[in-house]
């Protein structure tokens, strides 16, 4: 089986600063890839270079779409690229305010992705929206409420529902648990894990929280100063870190046994 996403020698610079330095990796279907590193290590930039429209200075991003066509993302016509980000891809932002329309109801937030792909039946859209609210464990009675009346964890789950409604193959998440308290985090992680398994999603997950990747990620990339310093199976990297930075990162986490 071929890869879903292939990143080859991706480079992104901001003036003298190299945010991503010759990054290469593969992502396979159904896989969750965690990217960890300290703040400023370039992990969010990497995610934006791949998942949204941030330009890159070198390298190649290749994606195999649902029709098994291999697409060179950075040479894709803008129309196709935008369509991809609105259908087969989903982006879950660290701050739900960046990923949601805060001034329209939860239902409309989910509806928008369907409307974008041409669904024009109000009744069907609503059914679909309710179904996905259920999937992310939000009470369907809240469908007509504004996201601003939701708690942080609910907003994050609403973001997920909005993305999932078009049945994407690949989801990008930037610190999805950032800013949530520990119990809410745990619930969100639990939900993510079951959704990923049931819907056969592939995820690239950026976080600085080792606990999150230990629970969710199959494979792990460790970034420092724009470079990948270590990569491999999550358990291997966390239990037997090779690079001094990874060793430091792992040992800095409190372990509650």
């Amino acid at each position: 089986m071929g890869y879903l996403l292939n990143i080859n020698q991706l480079t992104k610079t901001y003036g003298n600063l190299t945010a991503c330095d010759n990054i290469s990796f593969d992502l396979y279907s159904g896989q969750i890839l965690g990217i960890v590193g300290e703040s400023g290590s370039g992990k969010s930039t990497l995610l934006n270079c791949i998942g949204s429209n941030l330009s890159i200075d070198g390298g190649k991003v290749t994606y195999t779409n649902s029709n098994n066509e291999i697409l060179n993302i950075k040479q894709l016509p803008e129309a196709q690229h935008r369509k991809l980000t609105k259908t087969e891809w989903g982006f879950v932002q660290q701050n739900p305010r960046d990923g949601l329309r805060m001034n329209v109801t939860a239902g409309a937030n989910i509806a928008e992705r369907l409307l974008n792909v041409g669904v024009r039946h109000y009744g069907n859209i609503r059914e679909e929206a309710k179904y996905w609210l259920e999937q992310v464990e939000i009470d369907t009675n809240r469908i007509d409420d504004l996201p601003s009346t939701f708690s942080g964890g609910m907003q994050q789950r609403l973001q997920l529902a909005r993305v999932l409604v078009t049945k994407p193959g690949l989801i990008f998440m930037d610190e999805p648990t950032g800013g949530l308290d520990v119990s809410v985090q745990a619930r969100l992680l639990d939900l993510l894990r079951s959704l990923v398994r049931n819907l056969d999603l592939s995820v690239i997950l950026v976080t600085h929280d080792i606990g999150v990747v230990r629970l969710l990620a199959h494979r792990l990339l460790v970034m420092k100063n724009g470079q990948i310093v270590e990569s491999g199976l999550t358990d291997r990297v966390l239990d037997d870190p090779q690079h001094p930075y990874t060793q430091q990162l792992v040992s800095s986490v409190l372990i509650n046994n």
Binding site: T105, A108, A111, E112, L115, V117, Y122, G123
Partner: protein, 277 residues
């Protein structure tokens, strides 16, 4: 005779030519907004400077001009704009829709069906339909280019969710010629149907926003709707115009005294007069 000291129709010839070029482009791409170099007019923005510039650019000595505001020929805007053109063009003016070759309008399309050869000019406050969901002009232009109009339906979705029906009553967005999303200026949605396949040329001018767009004669204009919530127009159930008895025209509710007395009358004064015996 026109007032001496002014060029015919107030604007200088080069300006009129540049605006005509924008109009021609607009006609060539129905519903697409064309930027133009909007001039200072001897009245403030919001008074219809866009419509006036379009009218000034297309009006000829042989034209007969009608100006309406909310359907009426005798309201402040209508009277003043008509007088302005009479002064700077010396053209014939009329209140009769059927006699006019050029009609400038604010907020209504006349009830009397327009015919081939007529031109109707709309005054537009805000030409960009995507403005409500996308504040960035750059992004909106991209959405137009790529025909990404799905988000526009979010507003209609919210209407149905909140009110049980699509409550947008004026400036109801339309798709022109199966391609461009367009704001029809603040006409009631009652008038949207009249835009479809209209034999007259429809021109839209937004002075402050510096945009011109057009719907050529016999062009499809479709109002946005959902499959299970089709587009509908306002109805007045059992009411008829209390002047002329018309039941097929757009009615205004007019408060007549301090005791809560009110009456329903045609908003189109010319049509109303025509119905009287």
């Amino acid at each position: 005779m026109p007032e001496p000291g002014f060029n015919f129709a107030y604007l200088d010839e080069q300006t009129k030519r540049s605006i005509r070029r924008a109009i021609l482009k607009a006609i060539a791409i129905p519903g697409h907004q064309i930027p133009f170099s909007s001039r200072e007019m001897p009245m403030s923005y919001g008074w219809g400077t866009g419509g006036i510039q379009v009218t000034a650019s297309v009006i000829g000595k042989e034209d007969t001009l009608k100006v309406i505001d909310q359907g009426a020929d005798d309201t402040t805007n209508a009277v003043n704009i008509r007088r302005f053109f009479k002064k700077v063009c010396g053209v014939k003016t009329t209140e009769k829709t059927s006699e006019a070759t050029l009609i400038q309008t604010r907020h209504r399309i006349p009830e009397t069906p327009l015919t081939e050869g007529q031109t109707i000019v709309y005054q537009v406050p805000m030409p960009e339909p995507l403005f409500v969901i996308e504040p960035s002009r750059t992004e909106a232009a991209k959405m137009h280019a790529l025909e990404e109009y799905g988000s526009m339906y979010v507003k209609l979705y919210e209407d149905i969710t909140q009110f049980g029906h699509i409550a947008t009553a004026y400036d109801y967005p339309v798709i022109v010629d199966k391609r461009y999303l367009m704001k029809p200026s603040p006409i009631p949605r009652f008038d949207n149907l009249k835009m479809n396949n209209n034999p007259a040329l429809q021109l839209f001018g937004a002075g402050r926003e510096k945009r011109i767009y057009a719907v050529p004669p016999y062009t499809e204009v479709k109002s946005l709707d959902f499959e299970d919530y089709p587009f509908t127009v306002e109805k007045w159930e059992d009411k008829a115009c209390e002047f002329c008895g018309a039941t097929d025209s757009y009615l205004d509710e007019v408060v007549t005294d301090n005791e809560g007395g009110r009456m329903w009358i045609c908003s189109d004064t010319d049509y109303c007069n025509g119905q009287l015996p």
